[in-house]
Symmetry: C2
Subunit: 342 residues, 2 copies
């Protein structure tokens, strides 16, 4: 025990890390199927190659979505066919990374996971094409699981809807909280919902658990987005990998901001003034904006709403007939992700 | 007969126009399945909506690929299930238009089919997302035809490979003709090959005609690209919808240009000088470059190679057991497309 390293301990005790390690070999083998010229861009994005194409091990994501697929499969059928479940986990991870590659191009973002974004290294064209290839590969991975492929493709369309709504809302002067919630549910909830559903579908379970897991996953996805938005304002830059107050600097209409803007409070009105001005915000103004979101109740609302959604997630699971230890692992991962500090 | 309009006559006599009219209702119904916020971008790109979202009927493409799917189905099984064949034709058309939407973003092109490109009207984000949605929709359209879906996804990966090779070749100082031909086969041949194959697959024919049609279609695709490249230099701007000599102005390494550059002739060397200079080419220099491509034999090589490929296409069909009138229609459409002036 004393010779065990910290990371070995984590693997034994952390279901997120365990899931990542179970999925990674299949994910790497699947990425090897990409056309040769596309591979360096995709592997750089994944943190497994540097800009020169040499082996690397940098900036990995949390891999929440594939973990949810594995844990959902475990919760519905502890002895299900692992190969098909892992294929489903690979597919949701590929879709997530397709959306990140295209997001970074569309937003012009320069860094992701503490590294230069793929488009800023390889150019817009190769990054767009690498995203296209990952999306196609995701659906190819599910070619022998037609029901799962259909569910994933539907979720991709909803994710695209959420992203295009997001772009449209950013251009509009006023946005309601309902519009913002609907957008976030499509943008983040759909893929996290289907990540859970696919675990059950790939394990060959009947329709009812699939529906329960979809609903639970969509709630979890929205809770996850609320946490993300809170960290986008108050997160520690050293941990999140994003500059402090980046979302406020970009005047992003994230959920806590829209809650504040539509709060009818004096703080909300002052925040609207800062968001409405044409000049770039100074560091002092960004700090002031963060305080105003808090004063107007935007932060408390977001944290409470995330906790409510987490409870709904747990209730949805409790309604179903799931394996105890699988369900416990799902709840543990969900709590950690929603209550995370980075 | 005398009351018949020109376009009615065309529909009766032109297999390309007949095919377009057979596919269009299904294509429109399929596009209606797109998420609401994505639809205006996709329908604008298709020429069926204007920038304001009003009905339009502008700038339609040739719809060669879906026509090849219908005609291939007719050639292998004149009485095949039209519904599945039409779904396959819709799918190849969606993939083609996904690639055009992303191409225009990557190349920064401002016009397509005499109209402003989708990204220049709606922004880069919505155009990228509309492309993503069309790609996903293409594979959704084939959900009940798994073999066809697999073949189409493979062709998409090859198309992506061709596009990324194209971007890489444009950045390099010297390119061989073989590299350029391999790129064009991936970029254009793969999708035209699978457009033919899908007609047979959707009609439920055995493997041999599928292979013959794939090979024939890939040759046709390369021939089509050679014609496209010749028109990109000598095409009439009023007909092609592109400015005169646009490919030369952009110093594009199209097939006739690379044939000239690698010809070992004095004209090829002079052309290399123009392509290698750092300053923008004047109108006179563009005209001179076109003459040099011709002098170096690039134009004659491209036209001859296109004719050879057309013969190979016809030979591949002649080797198979195809319905006579279906085969005749395929050959007629292929000849017209390869020998077209716009």
């Amino acid at each position: 025990m004393s010779t065990e390293t910290r990371s070995e301990l984590e693997v034994r005790t952390d279901p997120l890390e365990t899931a990542r390690q179970r999925v990674e070999p299949a994910l790497r083998a699947t990425l090897d199927r990409l056309p040769e010229a596309v591979r360096p861009v995709a592997l750089y994005h994944y943190g497994w190659r540097d800009t020169e194409g040499h082996e690397d091990d940098a900036g990995r994501g949390k891999a929440l979505r594939p973990a949810l697929t594995l844990l959902s499969a475990q919760a519905v059928a502890p002895h299900s066919n692992p190969e098909e479940v892992i294929a489903a986990a690979v597919a949701v991870d590929l879709v997530h990374n397709f959306s990140l590659l295209h997001d970074d191009v569309m937003d012009g973002d320069l860094t992701r996971r503490h590294r230069a974004t793929a488009w800023s290294v390889f150019g817009v064209g190769p990054a767009v094409l690498a995203g296209d290839a990952l999306l196609t590969l995701a659906l190819q991975t599910l070619s022998s699981l037609p029901q799962a492929a259909t569910a994933l493709a539907d979720a991709v369309q909803e994710l695209i809807l959420g992203q295009i709504q997001d772009l449209a809302l950013e251009r509009r002067a006023t946005v309601t909280l309902d519009e913002c919630l609907a957008m976030a549910t499509a943008k983040t909830g759909a893929l996290i919902g289907v990540s859970c559903a696919l675990g059950a579908l790939a394990a060959g379970t009947p329709a009812e658990p699939v529906r329960q897991l979809t609903r639970a996953g969509r709630d979890l996805g929205l809770a996850f987005q609320l946490t993300d938005d809170v960290l986008g304002i108050w997160g520690d830059p050293g941990v999140t990998g994003k500059p402090a107050g980046a979302d406020l600097r970009a005047r992003k209409k994230s959920l806590p901001v829209v809650a504040a803007l539509t709060s009818g409070t004096p703080a909300g009105a002052e925040l609207a003034g800062l968001y409405g001005s044409a000049t770039p915000l100074s560091t002092d103004q960004i700090a002031r904006a963060a305080d105003l979101v808090e004063e107007a109740g935007g932060r408390a609302w977001a944290l409470n709403r995330a906790e409510e959604l987490l409870s709904q997630f747990e209730d949805s699971l409790a309604e179903g007939v799931f394996d105890d230890s699988g369900q416990l692992a799902l709840v543990s991962v969900a709590r950690r992700c929603v209550r995370r500090q980075s």
